[in-house]
């Protein structure tokens, strides 16, 4: 039998929450190596336990009663019949919530259980704890709620009306926040432009659609400690949110954070945490599980904000961009979540990765009774990329310039100020991405390909250029605390403090430790975030995870390495720790050629000596754009990854169907730590971006969800996506770990404008995404579809 690679043998077993590598491939975990992920085989074997896979003994089920109507005053909630049902442990309402009852990052405007008012159909009104799911379902139906309906604010236009009913009692009506960022003098500059173009774009509400829906298990122990195992992106922040909302001491909340079955931003913030904690407080000593089914997830979960973007772009005939004025409206739904910060990123990125001397971007974040807008990969930026790239294609058509040449002419280079006014002082690979794309056969042979279109098919090729600020930005410390330990058995154990929602950061951490400590993966261990064992390191968001924790981990590993050298020097009776090198399983004293094993070193070292810790804080820009002071946090950014994408599309002239035939992505993420994980991020983000371009649209009617499940909310299947060719454009991000910067988000921003670009060059300029068959056919027929049916 000839095999082209060794077979894995399943040997190691799991102890506690330690994930040990299960293969015997004798590779050092090196930076730059295309190595399989540390977590991959366990997941492929079905052995990985996600939060939803926990079924503790004598477990109870908790579930929430959802409002079902989008806006109203609660008159009464009668729980008597539900409480009387056998197998029901408790039925809780607002009066049973001991703390502030408020959740939500910055604005704390979202109740755990609504007591007086409902603001969207997914609001929780009561919480039931029952023996099993059947009883839970029956009990929820027995709760009687009397709500007086209020006028429904089902669109941003409705919210902005003079006499609009107020979703929250704000002095500013339904405008949660408005802001204007200014650079130069756009009004004056516009008057000198050869060409002025105007357009309004609409981008849809998008569902995260992680396959593992929101869930967790809670138990309130007799010693007063609340234990929660949750599918969350921010276990450390969750403790404070739960403590504030429920009047608990955050030090008595213990959160375990296994691998997530996807998140993409949607598990950043309150989902099941407070509800579960509340249930556990009332039924002490029992484990309680809450697991939203798909419909509840779609009803109550967060979404990408729908946006309306009015753009006015001024340019010269030669393609030089001169001035941009834009107005961005984001529908944050019933609650703020991170809506203001999301809008801030929209303003910051409104002009694209281009030099524009004059810009005024105005933004409004608006409350409605629609589903809640929240964090989603591409955080406010995915929306504006559609608009500014749409303007670039319109400008290219207007002046008869090659769309790629137009982009290259204006692309940011180091030393430029970006549209928000931040000087590009870090790695800036935008032009290199475009340059590499221009040399690719998919671009060079486009005319021939287009000419070979079969009957009833129209072919076109589009490109897009995008960027995405990395990290929290100013106003919120983007920090991480890494911990690494030599175990008594001579293994290296990494204590990961940042959730792994599937992006593979945890695996990359093992790789970083392996690189510095020169160890093989089978002698490495990984602890997933746990507020009792790992250290607060921020949320798994903003393309920051590997960057920030990675930087801290490099320092921690170097400190451990130096310590191992010094201790080995003691054991070998040499002068000091110089002259040592790490080798697999030990250290070597190079001058004498003697080795000391890690097991022997571990035996000699005291337990606390075997641990090294280090922290890192991401730098921020000292420049503040005019108008940016209004944002308390998250604005602006210093470091940006860049990307240029190409899409070859074929439009069916009879049905309006768009087939994305070929796809190509060039990404500047600095140095690539693991090409496989890098491609995973690019391909995954592109897939979500193509879904956003082609199908995905959360639809509501009078603020009630119409896309309630996976048969009406359309996700791309394997037949709807092409192979996605990914290339890295390796700049060096000098501040980053080994020169990398985060690319989790930037890939999400490019597919929609790339497909839109192809459509524009096919004579079908689109201003309303996604490009459903209906919208495309209407464009083909030169007729406008009546879009008021689904208001933005």
């Amino acid at each position: 039998m000839v095999l082209k690679r060794p077979i894995y043998i399943l040997t190691a077993s799991k102890a506690g929450s330690i994930t040990s590598s299960m293969n015997t491939l004798l590779s050092i975990q090196e930076i730059g190596r295309r190595s399989p992920r540390f977590d991959a085989l366990d997941k492929a074997l079905g052995k990985e336990h996600f939060a939803s896979d926990l079924y503790p003994k004598e477990m109870l089920w908790a579930g929430a009663l959802r409002a079902g109507i989008p806006h109203g005053r609660i008159n009464s909630v009668n729980t008597a019949r539900a409480e009387a049902l056998k197998g029901v442990h408790c039925v809780l309402t607002r009066k049973d919530v001991p703390g502030s009852n408020r959740q939500g990052f910055v604005y704390w405007d979202m109740p755990v259980l609504c007591g007086t008012k409902v603001r969207h159909a997914g609001d929780a009104i009561a919480l039931v704890v029952a023996e099993n799911r059947q009883i839970l379902a029956r009990a929820l139906k027995l709760i009687e709620v009397d709500i007086t309906p209020l006028p429904i604010i089902d669109s941003m236009d409705a919210a902005l009306e003079q006499k609009a009913s107020r979703v929250h009692d704000l002095e500013t009506g339904n405008v949660l926040k408005s802001a204007t960022i200014t650079k130069g003098d756009p009004a004056e500059a516009m008057s000198h432009c050869d060409i002025i173009l105007e357009e309004t774009f609409f981008s849809p509400v998008q569902e995260h659609a992680y396959i593992e829906t929101e869930n967790g298990v809670a138990r309130f122990d007799k010693d007063g400690i609340l234990h929660l195992t949750v599918s969350t992106q921010a276990p450390f922040r969750d403790r404070f949110e739960i403590a504030r909302a429920l009047g608990l001491d955050h030090n008595k909340i213990h959160i375990i954070n296994p691998y997530l079955g996807g998140a993409f931003g949607g598990k950043d913030g309150a989902t099941v945490q407070c509800l579960l904690a509340l249930a556990a407080m009332h039924v002490r000593g029992r484990s309680i599980k809450m697991w939203w089914d798909r419909k509840e997830s779609m009803l109550a979960g967060y979404k990408r904000h729908g946006a309306r973007m009015h753009y006015k772009l001024g340019a010269q005939k030669d393609g030089t961009l001169v001035a941009l004025q834009c107005e961005l409206d984001y529908d944050t739904g019933a609650y703020a979540h991170l809506g203001v910060e999301i809008m801030a990123l929209g303003l910051e990125h409104a002009g694209g990765p281009y030099r524009i001397a004059n810009m005024e971007s105005k933004g409004r974040c608006i409350y409605t009774n629609n589903p809640i807008g929240g964090a989603f990969r591409g955080f406010g930026v995915a929306q504006v990329c559609f608009a500014f790239e749409g303007m670039m294609d319109r400008l290219a058509a207007k002046i008869g310039m090659d769309p790629l040449a137009l982009r290259r002419k204006n692309a940011l280079v180091r030393g430029d100020r970006n549209c928000a006014g931040v000087t590009m002082t870090h790695s800036t690979g935008m032009d290199e991405c475009l340059s590499r794309l221009s040399d690719h056969p998919l671009w060079k042979t486009r005319k021939k390909w287009i000419a070979a279109a079969p009957p009833f098919k129209r072919r076109s090729v589009g490109i897009s250029a995008v960027f995405n600020g990395m990290g929290y930005g100013r106003g919120l410390a983007d920090y991480a605390i890494a911990k690494v330990k030599l175990t008594p058995s001579g293994f290296i154990r990494v204590y990961n403090g940042v959730s792994d929602m599937g992006q593979g950061n945890a695996s990359t951490f093992v790789q970083i430790a392996g690189e510095i400590l020169c160890q093989r993966r089978e002698t490495m261990e990984l602890i997933q975030p746990d507020t009792d064992r790992t250290h607060p390191s921020g949320s798994a968001t903003a393309g920051r995870t590997t960057y920030t924790y990675g930087k801290a981990l490099i320092k921690a590993c170097e400190a451990l390495r130096d310590k191992l050298f010094n201790r080995a020097a003691l054991m070998l009776l040499v002068d000091d720790g110089s002259g040592f090198a790490m080798i697999p399983g030990g250290v070597r004293h190079l001058p004498s050629g003697r080795d000391v094993s890690l097991v022997d070193l571990a035996g000699m070292m005291m337990p606390d000596d075997r641990i090294s810790m280090a922290e890192y804080l991401m730098p921020t820009t000292p420049e503040m754009p005019m108008g940016g002071e209004t944002f308390k946090l998250g604005f602006p950014h210093l470091i940006y990854p860049f990307a240029a994408h190409l899409a070859r599309v074929e439009v069916d002239e009879l049905t309006g169907e768009i087939n994305v035939h070929d796809y190509l992505a060039f990404t500047d993420g600095g140095r690539v730590l693991n090409p496989q994980v890098f491609e995973q991020q690019v391909q995954g983000a592109t897939a979500q971006g193509l879904g956003y371009a082609l199908f995905e649209e959360v639809k509501t009617r009078e603020a009630l969800l119409e896309t309630k499940d996976f048969s009406t909310y359309i996700l791309p299947t394997s037949l709807d996506l092409p192979d996605i060719e990914s290339h890295a454009v390796e700049t060096i991000e000098h501040s980053g770990p080994f020169g990398m910067k985060g690319i989790g988000e930037v890939g999400m921003n490019a597919p929609l404008p790339a497909v839109a670009s192809a459509m524009a060059h096919a004579g079908l300029p689109m201003d309303h995404a996604p490009f459903t068959q209906e919208r495309v056919l209407a464009a083909l027929d030169g007729t406008k579809r009546i879009d008021h049916e689904y208001k933005i």
Partner: protein
Amino acid sequence: MITLLPETLEDMWEMFLDQPDFKIMSGGTDLLVRLGVSPEQPSAVVCLEKINALKTIEKSRDEIRIGSGVTLTELLKNDLILKHLPILHTAISTLGSPLIRNMGTLGGNICTASPAGDTLPALHLLDARVSLYSDKGNRILSLDKFIQGPGRTLLSDKEILGSIIIPLPHGCNVHHFEKVGQRRALAIAVVSFAALLKVHGGVVEEARLAWGSVGPTIVRTREAEKALVGKELTLKNLNHAAALARSAVNPISDVRASACHRRRVAGNLLLRLAAL
């Protein structure tokens, strides 16, 4: 709720007698989705999956008879279907996903009686008949009579759809089916279109045309069919028939598409015949 798994028809008739209200389940891919959200559970679900009498495929000189319990995957793998009923084969290949087709049955797709049922336009053009079984005997109805409207059939209480009888379409040399969904798998038809044609020397001698998802049941337009007979499949002729088709269909607006879009696409799909 109890689950009953009779192994013969006779066992099943007896089980029917004991149950006050029951649901019949073939593949379960529609029924269990609906039961999952319904607060009213029946006293029993009677599964047909173990009854071998419902799993046969037989061909006689002029007909193919398919047991209602044959799964869609089994039909796709069956050479008789591919050879003699290519239009049905194509239609089945667009239904749901491989996983759905591994479970779902032809009988189930018919009894669900969805206006978007993927096999229905083809079965309609093939003049399929259904054989209904009960403890009192069998009766045969044409498919277009059997399906009354969305979710409504002439299936009586304690009666099941036993088999589907499909006459072979002798002489038809164009077997065309196209489904327009919102995506390429796991899609519910926005519009579907089936055409069976006899074309000789470029001229249409006979045309059968049917549309799905553009009315409460399958829409067949004799006007459009007549308009093609004696003509060549040119864009001009097809456009004329398409206009007739658009006025014959009666679609609704829903979350998937507007009525206006469905009507437009229903006509457009005829034009594809020009590219054959």
